[in-house]
Symmetry: C2
Subunit: 228 residues, 2 copies
């Protein structure tokens, strides 16, 4: 079931003047000529600029090479696909029937492209400051976790350190299901911690990736709890 | 002789609140740790965004691949070095003594980087709209000459077509000098047309490149004449 984009817009917290632009941003090229590729081109450049600007201010002592590396980590497909999953873009993607059947809404590249296209749509709809606000919100936790050595601690490590610092039990990762054929499996993982009553879920093309996803979802859940 | 950056700022038409930022943008890494590389990182992302945005609006029918190709042509080092030459950045570059002696102020890569760094400095000094204004002014003629087949007509062709359309004599390209050793020669060319009393000059690492430069300078001169 493809859900209406108005629902996603509401959840993101933006009222589009031109909602068809938002729908276009979620329309994959497998649907035909009217698709999100042009918006993706535009959004990619906005994302690169906003992240570059943030890193420039955030790390006044960083050399150019370090800034480039940090940005590459932020805007690479894997990171963008994580963002798309956190925001549930998969439920709202318009895909051609072939991509639909083969589970395109879970594919990293399609998810990543949709994030860039949505950024492009928000920019055209409401200007750079609004687009910048969304980008920085979506990337805030990742940007905060960067250090100059250019390593982002992965989500499992960060979750573990968070729990250890509070002398809590370590998380448990439960394998819920494995779907698909050998060369294109999808793993579903649940992450349980004593602090949170409900587990979080992660989906990925490897067990490790699905665990990272579930851990990241848990970090988001903890943060939401803390700021509620 | 390195000229004061305030002179260049005046010629560009921007009064810097923080002129040391502008000086930094013109300071090559051969001068030491305080150099323009960070500003170049920032300016590169601004340039990419502004050009992407312009192309998106300019070519509503273009596919993503075409837009990417057109942008690549606009932001490639060769184009940026041309922009730097048109704006005489070479006269204002701060170079280490080694680069100075070897003529670094004429080197494409150093010139191209300085354009990006200056864009970064203008952005930090005066915001995106001001930076966008400068970029679009500097690239206006090139953007106007783009067509969707992704080919920019080169300057010699454009100058020739301009003159033919007015039934004027074709331009003459005069070789003024060739400097340097065989593997790193610098060609100086003058372009003469009957319409303009003074010739324009072009410098390049090949005769063809120097002619293109001289032709482009002539197109700029004609345009300035026309708008005066």
């Amino acid at each position: 079931m493809i859900k209406p984009v108005s629902e996603l817009a509401r959840r993101l917290g933006h009222t589009f003047s031109n909602e068809s632009l938002f729908e276009l941003a979620l329309t994959h090229r497998s649907c035909g000529n009217r698709n999100n590729e042009r918006l993706e081109f535009l959004g990619d450049s906005i994302l690169n600029f906003v992240i570059a600007d943030d890193l420039y201010q955030r790390f006044p002592g960083a050399r150019e090479g370090q800034l480039s590396r940090l940005r590459a980590m932020m805007v690479k497909g894997e990171t963008l696909a994580e963002v798309a999953r956190e925001l549930n873009f998969g439920d709202y993607l318009r895909l051609g029937s072939g991509e639909m059947k083969s589970g395109g809404f879970r594919r990293d590249s399609i998810l990543a492209d949709s994030v860039e296209a949505v950024i492009g749509a928000i920019y055209l709809d409401a200007g750079l400051d609004t687009a910048r606000g969304f980008i920085l919100r979506w990337f805030e936790a990742r940007l905060n976790s960067l250090d100059l050595e250019g390593s982002v601690k992965d989500s499992k490590t960060r979750l573990q350190e968070f729990l250890q610092s509070r002398r809590l039990d370590l998380p448990e990762y439960e394998l819920v299901s494995v779907e698909g054929e050998a060369h294109s499996q999808t793993f579903h993982i649940r992450c349980h911690i004593s602090l949170q009553p409900s587990p979080t879920e992660g989906v990925g093309s490897s067990r490790r990736q699905a665990e990272q996803e579930a851990a990241r979802a848990m970090l988001v859940a903890i943060k939401q709890e803390a700021s509620a």
